[in-house]
Symmetry: C2
DNA sequence: TTTTTTCTTGATTGACGAGTCAATAAAGAA
DNA sequence: TTCTTTATTGACTCGTCAATCAAGAAAAAA
């Protein structure tokens, strides 16, 4: 049975299973066995490829952030001016793939993990910094000095709507969320300090 | 040793210890023994008064929400028009006592708990509903039809800034946070749909 | 004083879970 | 073919923790 080159396949399966398991339980309080079973292998194998539970979580986190980053970059390709770039950044956060329940649950739990794991915190900080600088970079030509504050508010609202998403059980919440952040963006572009 | 009427004292001590322990660890993954030790008693006693870990968490949650609610109500006493009432509601969320690190950590973890515990979810939903209706009630006389959307954004930004608070290690983050939400409030009051 | 109620804990139970390991099996290398 | 590397698992170890319980001590009631 041992086909060679299983490692990347197993790792990917475990990462996906981890996110699904977090989504299903809403907690990081899940067992390696459960994750492994969901990924169709024994828990020993999960340990073999990742070394430990922490590493599995970090890998799942990295994956989530990577997918998010890719989606943002993809959206930016089509945008050729600051305003549409801002809109693209915002929309990317609420696409169906990023705003799925499991993914949101995973995000929330990664924030929790970041409270106790320096590595997790570092990853989240990178995400936050990138989002902030993306926003500021595109806001500056439009509202110069107010860019920094506006970026903080937009980023904050995005995170807040994610947080609230977990409690709504409606399924098209992404639409409203996008609308809200775009409304804030317009207000920021229009307003005076 | 057995002084009578210990129950309320023990319960209060356990609730406080729970919040502190969550704050110290950043997780709900804490033991009853640790909580009990922090509160100066044996774990058996904690079980005696609360029945189980879940109940302890729920009590801590109720306490946090109660304190928050009281602070909002207190702030509203001094406010006699919609605009100042809105400001009071916002300010109450970022007072030193509500925005302390342990308290924010507890909030975050309560959001997580709400993903898996119906009771926790119910409590959080009550909080959200109250905040929303408070905001809408006072926004309506000022911006009528846009009140609902504006309330959603303000509430979302408050939650988002809480979420982000956990990652900053700065200590006077409350000041900036208040400023941001007030800026949003002014933008909402000023803007047109 | 005896009895009951309230308070308290140390010790124990029972379950569960992370991580290890020895063993098996297949594929490729020598 | 023999040896090595990669893949894989069941069984086991070791620790931890929630929950229970029996028992003791002090106040209050009888």
């Amino acid at each position: 049975m041992p086909k060679l080159g299983m490692e990347p396949i197993r790792r990917a399966a475990l990462v996906k299973a981890t996110i699904d398991e977090i989504g299903a339980s809403g907690t990081l309080d899940i067992t390696v066995s459960k994750i492994a079973k969901r990924a169709g292998m024994s828990s020993a194998l999960a340990h073999h490829y990742f070394g430990g539970k922490d590493q599995i979580f970090l890998a799942a986190m990295r994956h989530t952030l990577t997918v998010y980053g890719a989606e943002v970059r993809g959206a930016l390709i089509m945008a050729d001016n600051p305003e549409s770039r801002l809109e693209a950044i915002i929309r990317a956060g609420f696409t169906i793939s990023n705003f799925r329940r499991e993914v949101v649950a995973a995000w929330l739990n990664f924030y929790v993990l970041a409270q106790s794991s320096p590595q997790a915190r570092r990853l989240l900080t990178v995400y936050q910094s990138r989002l902030r600088s993306n926003l500021i970079y595109n806001l500056r030509p439009l509202i110069a000095d107010r860019a920094a504050g506006a970026a903080e508010r937009i980023a904050g609202l995005i995170d807040g709507l994610y947080l609230r998403r977990g409690l709504d059980q409606s399924d098209d919440a992404g639409h409203d969320a996008t609308k809200h952040v775009l409304a804030l963006l317009r207000a920021e572009l229009r307003g005076q300090s």
